[in-house]
């Protein structure tokens, strides 16, 4: 009986440990940035934009981009591999309507393993922008942009293999710029 008791206790502890470990690993490698902590800002914001497009909706939407139109074709190619786009924008009439803790609740997620800050811009006048990439096995699996302005807070989260090269091709279309990021050296074979 005593052996059964000890086995039961050990089994419980082992299950609990495994669950905690699995949850921690899953959370650490999840490119999804949770923004529920910012929900309360909706009451203070003068304008709120919240876009949540998951993979299924993304694929369905992709079919509505015409392949005949070169610009739409590029967008279609870019979003075809993505698993989600999530955007939250809070615009305020006054400054400092959100707290540093609100920003930190997002930033702390971007310190998890997998996320790498690629560009951080700090400007007292124009606010700051932080761009993060999540890579798994040398493949980009997520992009996050945190833009902090005295009157505006923006969180952008793109899931999936963000192809920066294709993204740069969107320059001029919807105002998507060329990311001035150094790319890995590639040996190009010219025919």
């Amino acid at each position: 009986m005593n052996i059964l008791f000890q086995t039961g206790i050990r089994l419980s502890l082992l299950s609990l440990t495994l669950l905690i470990f699995a949850a921690a690993v899953a959370n650490a490698q999840d490119p999804r940035v949770q923004t529920q902590s910012l929900d309360h800002l909706s009451n203070k914001a003068s304008q709120t934009v919240n876009v949540n497009i998951d993979e299924r909706l993304m694929q369905m939407t992709a079919k509505f981009f015409s392949s005949a139109d070169p610009d739409e074709k590029k967008i279609k190619e870019i979003i075809s591999g993505l698993k989600g786009i999530y955007v939250r924008v809070f615009e305020f009439e006054k400054e400092n309507e959100y707290s540093p803790a609100d920003v930190e609740s997002i930033r702390v997620q971007l310190r998890n393993p997998g996320w790498s800050p690629i560009v951080t811009i700090n400007s007292k006048k124009e606010g700051s922008v932080e761009v993060y990439l999540m890579t798994t096995n040398d493949r980009i699996t997520g992009l996050a942009v945190l833009a902090i302005d005295p009157k505006e807070l923006t969180v952008v989260n793109i899931l999936g293999p963000v192809d920066l090269e294709k993204l740069t091709e969107l320059e001029g279309q919807f105002g998507v710029p060329v990311l001035d990021i150094e790319k890995p050296a590639k040996t190009k074979v010219k025919n």
């Binding site: 039961g8 089994l11 009451n43 934009v49 497009i53 939407t61 124009e126 922008v129 990439l133 998507v176």
Partner: protein
């Protein structure tokens, strides 16, 4: 002397053996019921511990599974879109100014005004369009039902809005990454 007495109590016993037998015989086992002292308290609950431990383990696993399924359901139900404004009107146009880099790549900025039609909600309210209970698996746009088509069109608009927001922020990052700008900190090289 017959040694069989010591073996199976047959034959004549030795006098000394007989004496020892008489002395030690008083300590012989006497069958009688067990009587515990009054100060000893019986604990009978311990036998249930292993069962409780096993049940707790199963409950823990079921709970974890339930939480996981719940999260999965929420993620499936969450995709939608929100776009609200602070006015009381039903619909109005918002002019979004997007600054784009010049196609000439001379670091000059072009300002572009994009008119976005948005359905307004009462101030400080956020409306979420959920996409649950949607029929699935349409291979081509032609196969979409009217509801799916409307949903996809709405999602497309939201996708465009998301791309505009992303591009605006990346534009800002690009402008700031002009060489000589001391506000930029390169923290990581892709690849």
């Amino acid at each position: 002397m017959n040694n069989d007495y010591l073996w199976d109590r047959t034959g004549e016993p030795d006098a000394e053996v007989q004496e020892l037998e008489d002395v030690l015989g008083t300590l012989r086992y006497q069958p009688q019921p067990l009587v515990l002292p009054d100060n000893v308290r019986l604990v009978t609950g311990r036998k249930w511990y292993p069962i409780i431990a096993i049940a707790a383990t199963i409950a823990l696993v079921v709970l974890a599974l339930g939480v996981w399924l719940r999260v999965q359901q929420r993620e499936k139900a969450a995709p939608g879109q929100i776009a609200n404004k602070n006015s009381q009107t039903q619909e109005h146009q918002t002019i979004v100014t997007i600054e784009e880099p010049s196609p000439k790549r001379d670091n000059s900025i072009q300002k572009k005004e994009v008119v976005v039609n948005q359905v307004s909600q009462p101030r400080n309210r956020v409306t979420v369009a959920r996409h649950s209970n949607r029929p699935s698996h349409s291979n081509t746009a032609r196969e979409f039902t009217a509801a799916n088509r409307a949903e996809a069109e709405a999602a497309k608009e939201q996708l465009m809005l998301a791309l505009r927001v992303v591009s605006a922020k990346l534009n800002f990052a690009q402008r700031k990454t002009v060489p000589g700008n001391n506000n930029v900190r390169y923290q990581h090289k892709v690849g």
